[in-house]
């Protein structure tokens, strides 16, 4: 046995529940699951030796052995507190401990031509359609979380929007984990056919005890399709979160992502997109860390064809002993001439013990491109604090105002009014907001 080999306790534990997994009668999925389980058994969860994971140690997940919830165990959820996370005017799919809850979800009035259903159901009704999208944007060999997810996901969302259809309402996936020691493993597939448009929100919440929430999403955008994806991660304080969003963008398609990482003890986001000709992606992120939170964002943008545009801005605010990680990779293939790419990562450290590792990486193989990147790590600007003080604002409020202003730039980009207010409220709750007058904003 080589030193690299890992003996994970997970495969044996999860094998017990294999019969209850959705899609066991679907041959192609059974094969995918088998391969992925083998992959995971061989390599386990990602280790610090992997370049993409060198700043984030997930060994605690291996030690804790989080178990899957079977749908029959779903119990105590406070419906009222759930409702406050639901957007007023959205169609919603609610996943409780990784299982679809029809009674909590709202799908009335979805046009017949559009498919919005939970993954378990979709694997019964639409297995053939799903086959061409499953494990296409990301493969099990990507890393341990994707392998694990492929092998043992319990449910998720399938959204299919036909050509030229524009969804009139946003679709919200609400992930809730209700019990200590649970692991929710969900898989989402989003397909927008030619010139289709949709807005999707993923919300993650959970109980105050330790649990794990892992969601892998594959997105396929056909020619000229347009997806705006919001992610609002508000996991409980002791939670482990992994979220992977893997996008394939056909010619002229547009992908806008707003990634708000607020919760969890340890949270990791992977956002990868492949850009074909003249496709455009706009990646926005805001991570707020307090106490001992560790928040890692890993983005990869592949410019595969000419004329594609990528804009990326990630901002982090880290207080107390929190740690942030930003790894942003941009790859420009040899034939991807006229690429226009801009990547920025700005960090505000509010305490001496807060920390950030930021690593932008540009790999450019084409010669006629416009690529820029910038990174800042800093404290609040003393000149600005003095200016505000000279305008009667006390020092602490001045600091709070500047911190708020720094983060609020990302909140202001949200185009859904209801969501904007939700995120603004989270920002005000989570960060030193004393002296900030909500009603003056």
């Amino acid at each position: 046995m080589s030193a690299d080999q890992i003996i994970s306790q997970y495969p044996a534990e999860y094998a017990k529940f294999a019969d209850a997994l959705p899609g066991q009668s679907v041959a192609w999925l059974r094969l995918l699951r088998q391969d992925a389980a083998q992959q995971f058994s061989a390599h386990g969860f990602p280790s610090l030796r992997e370049e993409a994971w060198r700043y984030t140690n997930v060994s605690a997940i291996e030690k804790k052995l989080f178990s899957p919830a079977t749908s029959t165990e779903i119990g105590a959820i406070d419906i009222d507190s759930l409702n406050q996370h639901l957007l007023a005017d959205a169609w919603s799919v609610v996943l409780v401990d990784g299982h679809f809850s029809a009674s909590l979800s709202m799908l009335d009035g979805v046009p017949d031509s559009v498919t919005v259903m939970n993954m378990a159901n979709a694997l019964e009704q639409k297995a053939e359609l799903l086959e061409s999208y499953f494990s296409q944007a990301v493969a099990a060999k990507e890393h341990g979380f994707v392998a694990f997810n492929t092998a043992w996901f319990s449910d998720g969302l399938f959204l299919h929007v036909p050509a030229k259809q524009v969804l009139t309402r946003p679709i919200q996936i609400l992930h809730v984990v209700t019990q200590a020691g649970f692991m929710a493993n969900t898989r989402d597939i989003i397909v927008l056919e030619e010139s289709a448009e949709a807005k999707v929100l993923e919300t993650f919440v959970g109980c105050e005890e330790a649990y794990c929430s892992a969601a892998v999403m594959e997105v396929s955008l056909a020619q000229n399709a347009d997806l705006t994806l919001y992610k609002l991660q508000m996991e409980g304080e002791k939670a482990y979160h992994f979220g992977g969003t893997y996008v394939k963008q056909a010619r002229d398609s547009r992908f806008t992502h707003h990634n708000f990482a607020f919760g969890g003890l340890l949270a990791r986001n992977d956002i990868h997109t492949d850009l074909n000709q003249a496709a455009e992606c706009d990646l926005n992120g805001l991570y707020l860390g307090v106490k001992r939170q560790h928040i890692d964002n890993h983005t990869r943008i592949n410019h595969l064809q000419p004329h594609a545009i990528s804009h990326e801005l990630y901002k982090g605010v880290l207080n107390q002993r929190a740690k942030g990680v930003f790894q942003g990779r941009v790859l420009v293939a040899e034939q991807a001439q006229k690429t226009d790419s801009m990547m920025n990562n700005r960090n505000l450290l509010l305490s001496d013990d807060a920390e950030v590792d930021t690593k932008p990486q540009l790999e450019i193989y084409a010669d006629d491109v416009k690529c820029a990147h910038g990174v800042t790590v800093g404290q609040l600007d003393e000149q600005s604090i003095f200016y505000l003080q000279s305008r009667c604002v006390d020092k602490q409020t001045a600091r709070n105002m500047l911190t708020f202003a720094f983060a609020n730039e990302m909140v202001e980009k949200i185009k859904l009014a209801d969501l904007h207010d939700q995120v603004l409220e989270q920002l005000l709750i989570r960060f030193p907001q004393v002296g900030i007058q909500h009603n003056w904003l």
Binding site: D381, E382, Q383, S384, F386, Y387, L388, Q389, S390, R391, C392, V393, D394, K395, T397, A398, M401, L402, F404, A405, F406, N408, E409, G435, Q437, W440, L441
Partner: protein, 249 residues
């Protein structure tokens, strides 16, 4: 209103103000002129409480209180206002938010309730008109992307709303064309009152054509080296600072 006695200030080990004396009575307008690097902005910063300066000797009394003991924001709430030579840009904080925060902080200090939202809007729009600004500036981030002249107007707009007792203008006229200068001067003149004093730092006699000072001082090498009436400014303009420095030496 303000009494400065024998003020010595260092930046690090370097003495900048070297025994400065200045008395300003309520209602008076004082102008300070002087060569670059004389210590004019240093004086304005020390009066408003900016960190990074060490007072090694001397006293500053403002309305009977030791000004140097107060935090910058306390001074501001008690009526000391500095219009900056180089106003700072604050992305993400709207102009109107800051003015409301400032005005309410002053009102709280005076034991008054928060300003009524409608009254505030009326007040602000009134002053915006006085300074011939576009209302759009209210909703933009403080000074962000403003031109030099717009920043200076914005400083005076804030003064007009906060109604300070001691208004320190650090080169508010620099970089303004004549039309903008007239507007800014009108804004300042509208603020003149028996219980309000002004300390105007300037390089240009032109400003004093529009805002009549009671007393003109020359600050050179960290001290007030000469004081006189408005005619001193004209004389300075004709003969240059060398003339004063030679006289003193």
């Amino acid at each position: 209103m303000l009494s400065i006695e024998n003020l010595h200030v260092n930046v690090g080990d370097k003495p900048i103000l070297k025994g400065l004396n200045l008395q300003i009575k309520a209602g008076e307008v004082h102008a300070i002129m002087g060569p670059n690097g004389a210590g004019k902005s240093t004086l304005s910063h020390v009066l408003s409480g900016k960190s990074g300066y060490t007072v090694t000797a001397g006293n500053v009394t403002y309305q009977g209180e030791n000004l140097l003991d107060l935090e910058p924001d306390e001074r501001a709430r008690k009526g000391v206002f500095l219009a900056f030579q180089y106003p700072v840009e604050i992305p993400g904080v709207s102009n109107i938010y800051l003015m409301k925060a400032a005005l309410n902080a002053i009102r709280k200090h005076k034991g008054l309730p928060e300003v009524d939202a409608m009254d505030f809007l009326t007040l602000v729009k009134d002053k915006v008109k006085l300074l011939e600004m576009d209302e759009k500036f209210l909703y933009r981030s403080v000074n962000e992307g403003f031109s030099g002249g717009e920043k200076k107007r914005n400083e005076i707009l804030q003064a007009a709303i906060l109604e300070p007792s001691l208004c320190i203008l650090d080169e508010t006229d620099s970089g303004l064309d004549i039309d903008a200068l007239k507007v800014v001067a009108a804004g300042v003149n509208s603020l003149r009152a028996e219980d309000r004093s002004f300390l105007m730092i300037t390089h240009y006699q032109r400003l004093l054509d529009y805002i009549k000072p009671d007393i003109v001082h020359v600050l050179a090498d960290g001290k007030i080296v000469k004081s006189g009436g408005p005619e001193l400014a004209l004389e300075l303009e004709a003969k240059g600072y060398r003339w004063v420095e030679e006289q003193v030496a």
